[in-house]
């Protein structure tokens, strides 16, 4: 019936308008991802598989597994890591390499020393520069930490501030 067709068409047009409004809201809510993993997640599955297929299967599988772990982190943990990565990625390449080296050295410290060094890094990261420097030239700091530990603390607190 002509009347029925008109009503149906009007309803359907309403869907499209509603859809347009929703998409506009979604576009406003979406933040452009800067993290390569987040950008990777935005690629289509076909694009991702195409890239992974260029690697040996075992390596590709491992990458999938690691991405799965990243994607399944607790949201607050993932956000904190994302922010930390953003700070890190904005460093010049030579500083990035220093941070990588210090983190690896930190990982190689004796297990008993890691919580102490960790705690000091956390504290100094949140301090203003002048206070941080004052602490690090003090005798107390030098007596508590070995030269290697001092270097780790100095660089990580300097290049990865809170």
């Amino acid at each position: 019936m002509p009347g029925d067709v008109g009503r149906t068409t009007l309803l359907r047009f309403g869907w499209v308008v509603l859809l347009a409004i929703l998409l506009a809201m979604v576009a406003a809510a979406q933040q452009p991802p800067t993290n390569p993993i987040d950008r990777w997640n935005r690629m289509s599955p076909a694009q991702r598989e195409r890239e992974l297929s260029k690697l040996p299967p075992a390596r590709a599988r491992l990458i999938r597994q690691r991405i799965w772990r990243y994607n399944h982190m607790r949201p607050e943990e993932q956000q904190a890591l994302r922010e930390r990565y953003q700070t890190f990625s904005q460093l010049p390449p030579d500083k990035q390499q220093i941070v990588r080296d210090r983190l690896r050295e930190f990982h190689q410290l004796p297990q008993a020393r890691r919580p102490v060094v960790h705690s000091e890094i956390a504290r100094l990261r949140s301090w203003p520069e002048a206070q941080r420097q004052a602490r690090m030239i003090g005798d107390e700091f030098r007596s508590q930490f070995s030269p290697q530990e001092q270097q780790i603390i100095r660089d990580l607190s300097a290049y990865l501030p809170n």
């Binding site: 599988r61 491992l62 399944h72 982190m73 990982h107 960790h118």
Partner: protein
């Protein structure tokens, strides 16, 4: 052949095992509430099994979620060819063992926080432990976890199913998709290793 054990497996228990399969058949017919019952009944044991296997709490919960998701996805094709719990733990074992195999290939970065909170050992006495006792418990907690973590993955899974799920050898064999004699061998070697590693703790 397993030693004669007084398991108390009577008709009532057998009915309980069938009941899980019955619930799953109701899920197959679209009864979501039955899925909820199965979830409430088995989630803790699945998570605890996976946790002790992978020893990372966050990973354990995510893998356990995947286990129940797969159970739900399989509802339309579910056939009670095995006990429900056998099927459930087969899925859990597969996922956890695959995860462990993938994890083995990663660089061995020992994180400061491995995600596994240090829980207190059960204490027989209600007396507040002394500082010294707390230190001893902390060492024991770590040693138990390490001892089990050091077992090859399939031995680890077999011990956990045997100890915490109290599964007989035949059921473990169906879960791990191997023969009963293979399960006996896995458990023999695993317990031999654990005896060597943990037995000293009783004397400390």
């Amino acid at each position: 052949m397993e030693p004669r054990v007084s398991t108390g497996m009577g008709a009532a228990v057998a009915r309980a095992l069938d009941y899980d399969a019955e619930l799953m058949l109701r899920v197959k017919e679209g009864d979501g509430a039955s899925f909820g019952v199965l979830l409430a009944k088995h989630r803790a044991s699945v998570i605890h099994f996976v946790y002790r296997l992978v020893q990372e709490q966050a990973v354990a919960e995510e893998l356990a979620q995947e286990v129940f998701l797969r159970v739900y996805r399989s509802r339309s094709s579910y056939e009670p060819t095995a006990k429900f719990k056998t099927w459930l733990f087969r899925i859990a074992s597969r996922l956890a063992l695959n995860w462990l195999r993938d994890e083995k290939h990663e660089r061995g970065q020992e994180r400061l926080d491995d995600g596994s909170p240090d829980l207190p050992l059960r204490q027989v006495s209600d007396r507040r432990p002394s500082v010294e006792q707390e230190l001893v418990y902390a060492v024991k907690r770590r040693e138990i976890r390490r001892a089990v973590a050091a077992l090859p993955e399939k031995q680890r899974a077999a011990v956990l199913l045997h100890k915490y799920e109290e599964m007989p050898y035949a059921q473990i064999a169906r879960v791990l998709e191997c023969s009963e004699s293979a399960v006996k061998s896995l458990l023999y070697r695993a317990y031999e290793t654990l005896r060597a590693r943990l037995a000293y703790m009783e004397t400390t």
